[in-house]
C-alpha cells in the first residue's frame, strides 16, 4: 500500500493532544483515589489504567492506519463478530455483581458490550452511507437499522446491563435524527415510548426501580439507594470554588464516596479541584466534542461524516450521562466517564473511536481511486 504524503500533512494533532491531556488528568485522579486504599499486593489502578491507555494508543494507531473506507466495507463482518462475542459472553462470561458482562481473554477481562457501541456506529455508517440523502425514512426502510440496534440490545439486556442497552438506544437515535424521518414514524416512536416506559417499570429489577425513585428524591432513602448520589453531591459541593486540594478530598479519601474508580470518579476530581478545576476538565471535554463535530462537518463523504459524528456523540453521551448522574440531575446508571473512569474495555474502545475520528480527519482530502 502506497502511503500518501498528505496523510502526514493532514495528521490531526489536536485530537490526540486533547485526549492525552484528559487521560493524564484521569491518571492523576486515579492516583488520588488509590492513595489511601489499604496497600494491596496487586498493581494500583492508576498503573493498570496507564497500561490500558498504552494498549489503547496502539489500537488507535492500528485503527487510524487502515483507511476507514476499508473498515466500512467490512462493517457487517465486524458487526457479526461483535455480536458473536456477546453470545460468547452469555455462555462463558464471568459473572460479577449479578451480571454477566466480562469475557476473559489471556488473563484480561473484556466487555464486548463496549466494543459493540463502536461497531454499531460503523455498521450504521455503512448502511446509511449509500442511501439517498433526501429520502424520507419510514418504518419499512428503517427496519434493517432497527434490527442492527435491537439484536445486540437484546443480548446486552439479558446480561443484564440496562445502562449499556439504553446507551445503545440513545446512540442509535442520535444518529438517525440526522435524517428526515416520516412524521408518522416519529409519532410511532413517541407512542411506543409512552407505552413502554410504564411497562418497563415492571420489567426492570428492584434496585433499578429504587434508583429511579431516589433520583427523583435522593433524601428519601439517604442510607440506602440514595446514599451514593447524596455522598456524590456532598463531595462535589464541598469542593467549593477552589477544591480541597489534591489528595485531600475527605469524601473520597475516607471512602464516603462509593465507586470512586469508575462511576463516581468525577466526584473525586470535583472535590479536590473545585469549580475552577472542573471548568478546565469540562473545557477539555467540550473542545474534544466540538473538534469531533468539526471533523464530521468537513468529512468528505457520508460514511466518514457518520463515523465521525457517531464517535463524537458516543463520547458526548458518556460525558453528559456520567456527569449528569454524579451531579444528581440524571438517575444513577452505570455509565463510566470517558477517559477518566477506570476500565480497560472502555478505554481501549474509546481510543479506537478516537482512532476512527483521526482516520476520518486525516483522509478528508484523500480521494478514493
Amino acid at each position: 500500500m502506497k502511503i500518501d504524503r498528505r496523510l502526514f500533512v493532514n495528521f490531526d494533532w489536536v485530537l490526540p493532544t486533547l485526549v492525552l491531556s484528559i487521560c493524564c488528568i484521569g491518571l492523576m485522579n486515579l492516583y488520588s483515589v488509590g492513595y489511601n486504599l489499604p496497600d494491596t499486593t496487586s498493581t494500583p489502578s492508576y498503573v493498570r489504567q496507564a497500561y490500558w491507555i498504552f494498549i489503547g494508543l496502539v489500537m488507535m494507531l492500528v485503527v487510524l492506519s487502515v483507511d476507514y473506507h476499508f473498515i466500512v466495507r467490512y462493517a457487517y463482518v465486524l458487526y457479526a463478530a461483535s455480536v458473536l462475542l456477546l453470545f460468547v459472553v452469555l455462555l462463558h462470561g464471568k459473572v460479577a455483581q449479578g451480571s454477566q458482562r466480562w469475557l476473559m481473554l489471556w488473563g484480561f477481562s473484556f466487555q464486548p458490550s463496549e466494543l459493540i457501541k463502536l461497531t454499531v456506529i460503523i455498521v450504521l455508517a455503512r448502511f446509511f452511507g449509500d442511501k439517498n440523502v433526501t429520502q424520507e425514512w419510514g418504518l419499512k426502510n428503517l427496519a434493517a437499522p432497527l434490527f442492527i440496534l435491537l439484536l445486540p440490545s437484546l443480548l446486552i439486556v439479558i446480561q443484564p446491563d440496562l445502562g449499556t442497552t439504553l446507551f445503545l438506544g440513545i446512540l442509535f437515535f442520535s444518529i438517525i435524527i440526522l435524517f428526515r424521518i416520516k412524521r408518522r414514524l416519529i409519532k410511532c416512536f413517541a407512542v411506543s415510548g409512552v407505552i413502554l416506559i410504564p411497562l418497563g417499570w415492571f420489567f426492570i429489577q428492584d434496585y433499578q426501580r429504587k434508583r429511579i425513585l431516589t433520583f427523583l428524591n435522593p433524601e428519601m432513602d439517604p442510607l440506602g439507594s440514595g446514599y451514593h448520589i447524596i455522598q456524590s453531591m456532598i463531595a462535589i459541593g464541598s469542593g467549593g470554588l477552589l477544591g480541597k486540594g489534591y489528595l485531600k478530598g475527605t469524601q473520597s479519601q475516607l471512602k464516603f464516596l462509593p465507586e470512586q474508580q469508575t462511576d463516581f470518579v468525577f466526584s473525586v476530581f470535583a472535590e479536590e479541584w473545585g469549580f475552577l478545576g472542573v471548568l478546565i476538565l469540562i473545557f477539555l471535554f467540550l473542545a474534544l466534542i466540538l473538534w469531533g463535530f468539526k471533523i464530521a462537518r468537513r468529512s468528505r463523504d457520508m460514511s466518514g461524516m457518520l463515523i465521525a459524528y457517531g464517535v463524537t456523540v458516543y463520547i458526548f453521551w458518556g460525558i453528559f450521562i456520567n456527569i449528569g448522574m454524579v451531579l444528581g440531575i440524571l438517575p444513577v446508571v452505570g455509565i463510566p466517564l470517558p477517559f477518566l473512569s477506570y476500565g480497560g474495555s472502555s478505554m481501549v474502545v474509546l481510543m479506537m473511536g478516537v482512532g476512527l475520528l483521526m482516520n476520518v480527519s486525516m483522509r478528508r482530502f484523500v480521494f478514493q481511486p
Binding site: 473506507h69 466500512v72 466495507r73 452511507g129 449509500d130 439517498n132 440523502v133 433526501t134 435524527i177 440526522l178 455522598q231 453531591m233 456532598i234 463531595a235 462535589i236 459541593g237 464541598s238 469542593g239 467549593g240 470554588l241 475527605t250 469524601q251 475516607l254 471512602k255 464516603f256 470535583a270 472535590e271 473545585g274 469549580f275 472542573v278 471548568l279 469540562i282 471535554f285 467540550l286 466534542i289 466540538l290 463535530f293 464530521a296 462537518r297 468529512s299 468528505r300 463523504d301 457520508m302 460514511s303 466518514g304 461524516m305 459524528y309 456523540v313 458526548f316 453528559f320 456527569i323 449528569g324 451531579l327 444528581g328 440531575i329 478514493q368
Partner: protein, 621 residues
C-alpha cells in the same frame, strides 16, 4: 442526484451541516447545563455541603467519667470503682474466628452456646468493632486469657469500671445502687441530661446525689472513614470525675449495729443528738447492691422484688410503725407544758381504764396502783397516759407531736422518705369521713391507733430531748468534695426548731428516761451499765388491735406477722449525750427484753471504742 445512488461514499455530507450545527448548539447547551449545576453545587451550596462532609468525617466519641466515691465520716471508702473485665474479639484481627472461639471454650472462658451462629454473626461489615463475648469475668479467667494470648489472636480484654460496695448489704439502704438509665426514666423531665446507656443512681445516696456523683463526660473528636473506623484523633477533652461524697456514717458503728441485730428484722439507727448527724442506719432484711453491677440477673431481681419482707425498703425512713410506749415522752411533755399536770400529779392504775363503752388495759394486768409522772414513765404505766390523753385531746397531742418532728418528712438526704401519720380530728373527717371517737385519743396516747412514725423521726424526737430541746434536721451527708479534695458543698448541722419546753420540764423528762434504764422497776433495765449513763424508753407496738377481752390469746399462738414490734430508744451519756439509738425489732415482742439488748451492744461498743481512741490520741499526744 443520480450519481448519489450509484456507488458508496459519493454523497456530499453538506446537506447535514445544518443539522450538525443545530446539534453543536444542543451540545453546548448540555455542557452549559452541567456547568450551571456545578456552579449551584460548588459555589452556591458549597459551604453547606462542605459542612455536611465535615459532619461525615468527624465524630465525637464520649469518654465516660469515673463516678465519685462515697466515704464514711472517717474517710474510709464505702463505694469504690473497680475494673470489671470483658472478653471481646475483634473479628478482623483473626483469620479463623471459630478456632479462636473453640479455644476460648476449651479454656472455659467462654460458654459454648451458639458458637457457630456467633461465628457467622461476627462476620460483620465493620470487622474492626470489637464484639463482646463474656462480660465481667473473674480474675482467674482473666489470667487464663492473658497467659494464652498468643493462641487467641483478636481477643482483647475491655476494662469497664463498675461500682464496688465494699460493705455489701451492710449499707445497702444508705448507699443504694446504680444501673443503666431506663427508658421510663429517660422520658422524665428530670432526666433530660441523661442519655440511653448512661449509668445512673437508682436508690439511696447514689440516686439522691447522682448529679454530684456522675461527673462530666469528656469527648474525643476523631476522624473516621465511612465504616466508622477511627483514623486519627483531632481533639480531646478529658472527662471530669464525679465528686466524692463524705457521709456522717461511721462504718464501724454501722457494722456493729448490724451485727447486734443479727437474726432480726427491723431498724437500728444511731444519731449524734448534738447535731443530728446519723452515725449508723441499718435496715433489715437487706440486699447486696453489688448484685446490680452490670445489670442484675432476672433470678436475683425476682427474688428481691417478690420477697414479702421487702428487703429493698429502707425501713429507717420508709418504714412506718406505731411508736407504742416510746410516744409517752411526747404525751408527758405536752401535758407538762400545757400546765395540765405537774410532775407530782398522780393517777390510780388498777389495770383498766374506761372510756365510753370501751375498756382499755394497762400492760400490767394487776395495775400499778397510785403512780406519779416519773413512775408512770419508768414503769410505762398505760393508764396514767390514758388519763393524760383524755386531758389533752388528740389535737393537742398532734400539735406537740409535730413540734417533735413527727408527721412530716425529716428532710434527710435520702430518697423515698415517708412522713408517718399524726392524726387529728380534722384529718379523720377528711380522710375517713367519720367523726373522731374519744377512745381513739386513748389509743393514740400510748402510741397506738392511727399514729405512725418512721424510726428516724422517733430517733430525732428523742435526740431533741437528749440535747436539751433543739430539733435538728437529720444529716447523713457531711460534705461533697472534688476528687482532688476541693470543697464543693458542706452540709452543716441545721437546727430546724427549738422545742417550746421549759428547761425544768425537759429535766423532768430526762430524769424519767434515766429512771427507765437505771431504776429497779424500769422497763429498760437491760441497758443498765456500770456507768449508769444511759437514758431511754421501751415500747411495744401492737401490729393489729387485739380483741380487748380475749385473754386466751397467748403470745406464742399469734402468727409471726401479727406479733408486736419491740421498740427501744435511748441516748447516752446523761450529761451532754453523744449518741442516741433507736432499735425496732419487727414482730420481736417486748421492747425491754428484745430491743433494749441490741441497743446495749451498740452503746457498749461505742463507749469502749471511744476510750480506745482516746487512748491512742493520748499516746500520740
Amino acid at each position: 442526484m443520480l450519481g448519489n445512488q450509484n456507488s458508496l461514499n459519493k454523497h456530499e455530507p453538506g446537506n447535514f451541516r445544518k443539522r450538525l450545527d443545530v446539534l453543536v448548539w444542543l451540545v453546548m447547551f448540555a455542557f452549559a447545563l452541567l456547568v450551571l449545576r456545578l456552579w449551584y453545587l460548588q459555589v452556591i451550596s458549597g459551604e453547606t455541603l462542605r459542612q455536611r462532609s465535615e459532619n461525615n468525617r468527624i465524630r465525637v466519641q464520649e469518654i465516660k467519667p469515673l463516678r465519685g466515691l462515697i466515704l464514711d465520716a472517717k474517710g474510709r471508702i464505702l463505694v469504690d470503682n473497680q475494673p470489671s473485665f470483658d472478653v471481646s474479639i475483634v473479628p478482623e484481627a483473626t483469620k479463623d474466628i471459630r478456632k479462636v472461639l473453640r479455644k476460648l471454650v476449651e479454656l472455659s472462658v467462654h460458654s459454648d452456646t451458639d458458637n457457630y451462629q456467633k461465628a457467622a454473626f461476627l462476620k460483620t461489615d465493620r470487622p474492626f468493632v470489637p464484639v463482646t463475648l463474656e462480660r465481667n469475668i473473674g480474675r482467674d479467667k482473666l489470667a487464663i486469657v492473658e497467659t494464652n494470648s498468643l493462641n487467641l489472636p483478636g481477643v482483647i480484654i475491655d476494662i469497664v469500671p463498675v461500682r464496688k460496695y465494699i460493705y455489701g448489704p451492710v449499707m445497702a439502704h444508705i448507699l443504694g445502687y446504680v444501673g443503666e438509665v431506663s427508658n421510663s426514666e429517660l422520658e422524665k423531665e428530670s432526666y433530660s441530661q441523661y442519655k440511653s446507656g448512661d449509668i445512673v443512681g437508682k436508690y439511696g445516696i447514689e440516686r439522691y446525689l447522682d448529679e454530684y456523683l456522675r461527673g462530666k463526660s469528656g469527648g474525643e473528636q476523631v476522624e473516621v472513614n465511612v465504616d466508622g473506623r477511627k483514623l486519627k484523633i483531632l481533639g480531646k477533652v478529658d472527662p471530669v470525675p464525679g465528686y466524692n461524697i463524705v457521709l456522717t456514717i461511721d462504718a464501724d458503728l454501722q457494722k456493729i449495729s448490724r451485727d447486734a441485730f443479727t437474726g432480726k428484722e427491723g431498724v437500728v439507727a444511731v444519731m449524734n443528738p448534738q447535731d443530728g448527724s446519723i452515725l449508723a442506719m441499718v435496715s433489715k432484711p437487706s440486699f447486696d447492691p453489688n448484685l446490680f453491677n452490670r445489670g442484675i440477673s432476672e433470678d436475683n431481681w425476682t427474688k428481691l422484688s417478690s420477697d414479702p419482707l421487702s428487703p429493698m425498703q429502707n425501713r429507717a425512713i420508709s418504714g412506718q410503725y406505731p411508736p407504742g410506749s416510746t410516744y409517752k415522752l411526747i404525751v408527758a411533755a405536752a401535758a407538762l407544758e400545757e400546765g395540765l399536770i405537774t410532775k407530782d400529779k398522780t393517777f390510780s392504775c388498777d389495770g383498766t381504764f374506761k372510756m365510753g363503752n370501751r375498756t382499755f388495759r394497762c400492760w400490767k394486768k394487776r395495775g400499778h396502783g397510785v403512780v406519779d409522772l416519773h413512775r408512770a414513765i419508768v414503769e410505762s404505766c398505760d393508764v396514767y397516759f390514758y388519763n393524760l390523753g383524755d386531758l389533752l385531746g388528740v389535737d393537742k397531742l398532734a400539735e406537740y407531736s409535730r413540734k417533735f418532728g413527727l408527721g412530716s418528712k425529716t428532710g434527710v438526704i435520702l430518697p423515698s422518705e415517708r412522713g408517718g401519720l399524726v392524726p387529728t380530728k380534722e384529718w379523720k373527717v377528711r380522710r375517713l369521713k367519720e367523726p373522731w371517737q374519744k377512745g381513739e385519743t386513748t389509743s393514740v396516747s400510748i402510741g397506738q391507733g392511727f399514729l405512725l412514725v418512721t424510726p428516724l423521726q422517733l430517733l430525732n424526737a428523742y435526740s431533741t430531748i437528749a440535747n436539751g430541746g433543739s430539733l435538728y434536721k437529720p444529716r447523713i451527708v457531711k460534705e461533697i468534695k472534688t476528687a482532688t479534695g476541693q470543697m464543693i458543698k458542706e452540709f452543716l448541722p441545721e437546727k430546724k426548731a427549738v422545742l417550746p419546753l421549759s428547761g425544768d420540764n425537759i429535766d423532768i423528762l430526762r430524769k424519767a428516761l434515766w429512771g427507765v434504764v437505771n431504776e429497779d422497776h424500769g422497763t429498760g433495765r437491760a441497758l443498765r451499765r456500770a456507768e449508769r449513763d444511759v437514758s431511754g424508753k421501751t415500747g411495744t407496738a401492737q401490729v393489729i388491735r387485739m380483741p380487748d377481752d380475749d385473754e386466751d390469746v397467748s403470745k406464742e399462738k399469734v402468727a409471726y406477722k401479727f406479733k408486736d414490734h419491740a421498740l427501744f430508744v435511748c441516748f447516752a451519756p446523761y450529761d451532754s449525750p453523744e449518741i442516741a439509738v433507736v432499735v425496732i425489732v419487727e414482730h420481736g415482742g417486748h421492747g425491754g427484753s428484745v430491743a433494749a439488748p441490741v441497743a446495749r451492744k451498740i452503746v457498749d461498743w461505742y463507749f469502749q471504742n471511744k476510750k480506745g481512741e482516746a487512748g491512742i490520741d493520748g499516746a500520740l499526744g
